[in-house]
């Protein structure tokens, strides 16, 4: 199953990166979200997949008995999901504001604020 998920992750990365490279700002938000999913699944797959054995101790046990899913990537992903949401919200707000200020959704035309030299 890791093999199949590897292809899913690859597909999500490709789609996310492609959208991030668009000039239309709305697509960038969507691309960011897809990249977030891709990264989370990447971590998840790297921790190996286990069916039906969550890393939770059964009542009466004093330690986790094999087989069980790797809890470390799960803990990492859990915070990553929430932070990903925060970033997505921030990017959304940023893009909304810049759209309002510059009256365009074409990234290439949004250069008034960081003109070089």
């Amino acid at each position: 199953m890791e093999v199949v998920l590897a292809f899913v992750v690859g597909g999500l990365y490709a789609a996310g990166l492609y959208l991030m490279m668009r000039r239309s700002i709305v697509k960038i938000i969507l691309g960011l979200a897809l990249l977030g999913h891709a990264a989370n699944l990447l971590l998840f797959t790297m921790g190996r997949l286990t069916r039906g054995h969550p890393p939770v101790l059964h009542e009466g046990d004093t330690q986790l008995l094999h087989p069980f899913a790797d809890p470390i990537p799960e803990a990492l992903i859990l915070t990553a999901i929430v932070i990903g949401f925060g970033i997505q919200a921030f990017a959304t707000a940023l893009i909304r504001r810049s759209h309002e200020m510059m009256q365009t959704d074409d990234l290439d035309k949004m250069r008034a604020s960081d003109s070089s030299d």
């Binding site: 969550p54 939770v56 859990l78 915070t79 929430v82 949401f85 925060g86 919200a89 959304t92 707000a93």
Partner: protein, 135 residues
């Protein structure tokens, strides 16, 4: 966007979802759940309420300012870590009560920490949501 069905449904869903979120928070240490999930469920409840009844109603429902909630949560999480300093242990060593309390279960500083996480998550999502919805 507010329809009759949605607004009626949220009125009844709201308390249930909030109850669920607290349940998730408290059981998180031993079963799936915890501060992040609990906080998100509570935020989802308020988000639904916002869609059905508008931002002002939702804010009134929350009673405290969402930004205050962020501060409170951060303070709670930080404070929970300092208890161990008084016991002479390193920062954020978990301390637990010996006896179980009724309904809440065993209480220790990690539960307090998780409650801080819960508050921060609710505060953050609602601050963002309200800001975007009002804009």
């Amino acid at each position: 966007m507010s329809t009759l069905i949605l607004s009626t449904a949220t009125r009844y869903l709201m308390p249930l979802l909030l109850l669920l979120s607290v349940h998730l928070l408290l059981r998180g240490h031993n079963e799936p759940g915890g501060g992040f999930v609990g906080g998100l469920v509570a935020s989802a409840a308020f988000a639904l309420y916002t869609i059905a009844h508008g931002v002002d109603q939702a804010k009134r429902m929350l009673r405290v300012d969402s930004k205050t909630l962020i501060g409170m949560g951060l303070f709670l999480a930080l404070a929970s870590g300092t208890f161990s300093l008084f016991a002479g242990d390193p920062f954020m060593t978990g301390l637990w009560m010996k006896e179980k309390l009724p309904t809440i279960g065993k209480v220790g500083t990690p539960v307090l920490f998780d409650a801080g996480v819960y508050c921060v998550v609710v505060g953050v999502t609602l601050t963002i949501l309200f800001a975007l919805a009002e804009d």
